[in-house]
């Protein structure tokens, strides 16, 4: 991983701001999620716009010219348009053409699924440099009334990009990735409409009934998350005969502060090795890990040789982990 950069919209929305729109309170939101504020985009801004800004900075930091990108991978669940992919829109925004561009739609684990693909492309020598972006505009897809508050208060907008390139030292870089899913729980955290299983795919009723907004069974998500997170972290460590004690930093997908803390506690990971920033961004799904990674680097928590574990769990359910020797 040659570089990381983030781009979040300027507008900050506090819990008190949301309490004007719905029956909720700062105390309630903080207690259950750890979130104090999130960012919302304004005007005609899409996931690809935020992603393109983050990507330009990531390329500059990596010292890689945009035209030398071999492939663009965009992880999102809130694409700019229904189709084509936000990867194509981002490619256009960056003034690029020719290299492949596609979206990965794996929700909260999207960045890790994308990382696994990017890693394979580079390790096999197919592409020298892969641009991997996680970007979301949730704010236009939330029911910000009392009816939708359980989901509405959680999500925020943001994007981050990483440049993946060759690592000559075999002991360093992305050591491995581990991906899972369990579609049995697909309807525990989902956005039903539009969808090809309905006839027709979209109706006025679906819009009026709020079926175009995500729904969540929070308790079930929590229960599965606190099981799968430690499982997939241990899977990554076991693959390299490493233990939790070897970890320098754990960056979980920022889904919920309670989940992250419970996972860290269960692993007996010291608090200073857990990185969280959900209080300022909310849950930015596919963008949350790279946003957090960029902040962790700026905070000096990532040093040369640091062993970092990234892990995610979310809608699908999908989950995964990646182990990186910085």
């Amino acid at each position: 991983m040659l570089s990381v950069a983030r781009c979040v919209p300027d507008k900050v929305v506090t819990n008190d701001d949301l309490a004007v729109l719905m029956e909720t309170s700062d105390e309630w939101i903080q207690q259950r999620t750890g979130i104090k504020q999130r960012h919302y985009s304004e005007g005609d801004t899409g996931a690809a716009d935020l992603g393109a800004r983050a990507a330009a900075e990531a390329l500059e930091r990596a010292g890689v010219r945009a035209h030398d990108i071999g492939c663009i991978i965009f992880a999102t669940l809130s694409p700019d348009y229904d189709m084509p992919s936000s990867a194509c829109v981002l490619q256009a925004r960056m003034g690029l053409a020719g290299m492949p561009a596609f979206d990965v739609r794996n929700q909260c684990s999207g960045f890790l699924y994308g990382l696994a693909i990017a890693n394979a492309y580079v390790k096999n020598g197919t592409f020298d440099h892969v641009l991997l972006v996680g970007g979301e505009i949730h704010s236009t897809g939330l029911d910000l009334t009392t009816r939708g508050r359980e989901v509405g208060v959680i999500f925020g907008d943001g994007a981050a990009a990483v440049v993946i390139g060759p690592e000559p030292d075999r002991q360093r870089g992305i050591l491995s990735t581990h991906l899972h899913a369990e579609g049995r729980f697909a309807e525990m955290l989902w956005l039903e409409s539009p969808g090809s299983r309905e006839r027709p795919r979209l109706t006025e009723d679906m819009i009026a009934e709020g079926r175009i907004f995500p729904k969540m069974r929070g308790r079930e998500v929590f229960r599965q998350a606190v099981t799968r997170f430690p499982e997939v972290i241990r899977e990554a460590l076991d693959a390299h005969d490493l233990t939790v004690a070897d970890l320098d930093l754990f960056i979980p997908h920022q889904a919920n502060q309670r989940i992250s803390q419970m996972v860290a506690m269960g692993l007996e990971l010291p608090e200073e090795k857990l990185f969280t920033n959900i209080e300022r961004y909310g849950n930015t799904t596919a963008a949350s890990i790279p946003i957090a990674l960029s902040e962790a680097i700026e905070a000096g928590k990532v040093r040369e040789g640091s062993l970092i574990c990234l892990a995610a769990f979310g809608a699908g359910f999908t989950w995964g982990s990646a182990l990186i020797r910085w």
């Binding site: 229904d82 579609g183 795919r201």
Partner: protein
């Protein structure tokens, strides 16, 4: 080490009326439902059980629901435990993009058996009015699956090349729901204007396909180190079947071309593998045959692959 196509299967729903033409139309069920029998056929032909599959790649632009992806629904229906299940969005070239990703995982040794699915249920999202008919009658519903694994001998996938040019993203697109639209990505007004239906700039899509397909076919042949005349069959996917005719004629390979859009309507990501699987099942293409697959469409995305069966 190369990646081999160990088994293929496809599934087409019965023909129905699509704005005046007959197309395979799924009257019920979502994309993952259509994919299931295709995958079961592919696994049977590969002699593989679901337990052996260690990763799923699902290429579609018409998932069962907005999220999670179709791969998650499909994984559950096929009872594939907790293996990783990826959704790829690359529109008309989705199968080739999925093939590229699956090939990478197999060559790196990450996974030994990848189930690659390409499936579309377009019909519930089309506009069957007079206004929408010219677009609605282009498409069909269909699914195909391929079991991929390391090749034992010389056969298998010898090249797969993929490309995109996002500058044309609004020449073949479905604009809404759109997360760019503030404050909400889909309103009743947007719906009443029909902005959730696909739109095509026929002329631009046609010209781009005609210019791009020959170039990407030659690129894939060069990457595979195979001459054009060594190819037994070309499977060419484009929303307009006459573009495929034109490309085939120009390249002098008309006698060897399969043109899925003429046969089924455009099945988007599923076009190439449905056509190939159907030809193999009918005995038109046998083991050892060398096939070149190429597609171009929305995004714009395009690609090509050369594979020995």
């Amino acid at each position: 080490m190369r990646t081999a196509l160990l088994g293929m299967g496809h599934h087409l729903p019965p023909l129905g009326d699509a704005a005046g033409v007959k197309r395979p139309i799924a009257e019920t069920g979502g994309t993952s439902d259509l994919a299931r029998p295709a995958a079961e056929a592919a696994l049977a032909r590969a002699g593989a059980s679901t337990d052996e599959v260690d990763f799923i790649v699902f290429a579609t632009m018409t998932p069962d629901v907005t999220f999670p992806g179709a791969a998650c629904f499909f994984q559950h229906k096929l009872a594939c435990g907790t293996i990783g299940s990826l959704d790829v969005r690359a529109q008309c070239a989705g199968f080739l993009f999925g093939l590229s990703v699956a090939d990478q995982f197999i060559r790196l040794g990450t996974y030994r058996r990848v189930l690659l699915v390409a499936a579309e249920v377009m019909s519930p999202g089309l506009e069957y009015s007079e206004r929408g008919a010219p677009v609605a009658r282009l498409f069909g519903d269909g699914a195909a699956a391929v079991v991929l694994g390391p090749a034992g001998g010389d056969g298998g996938l010898s090249s797969v090349v993929i490309h995109a040019d996002g500058r044309h993203y609004d020449r073949f697109w479905c604009e809404y729901p759109s997360s760019r639209q503030h404050p909400v990505r889909m309103t009743l007004e947007d719906f009443r204007e029909g902005r959730h239906f696909p739109f095509l700039d026929f002329e631009t899509v046609r010209q781009f396909g005609a210019a791009t397909l020959p170039a990407v076919i030659d690129e894939s042949l060069a990457a595979a180190g195979v001459d054009r005349d060594r190819i037994d069959r070309f499977v060419l996917g484009h929303v307009f079947p006459d573009v495929v005719d034109q490309v085939a004629d120009q390249m002098g390979v008309s006698a060897k071309v399969l043109n899925p859009s003429r046969q089924y309507g455009h099945l988007v990501a599923a076009s190439l593998p449905v056509s190939l699987s159907a030809a193999v099942a009918a005995g038109e293409i046998g083991p050892g045959a060398t096939v070149c697959l190429a597609a171009c469409g929305a995004g714009f995305t395009w690609g090509a692959a050369v594979v020995q069966l």
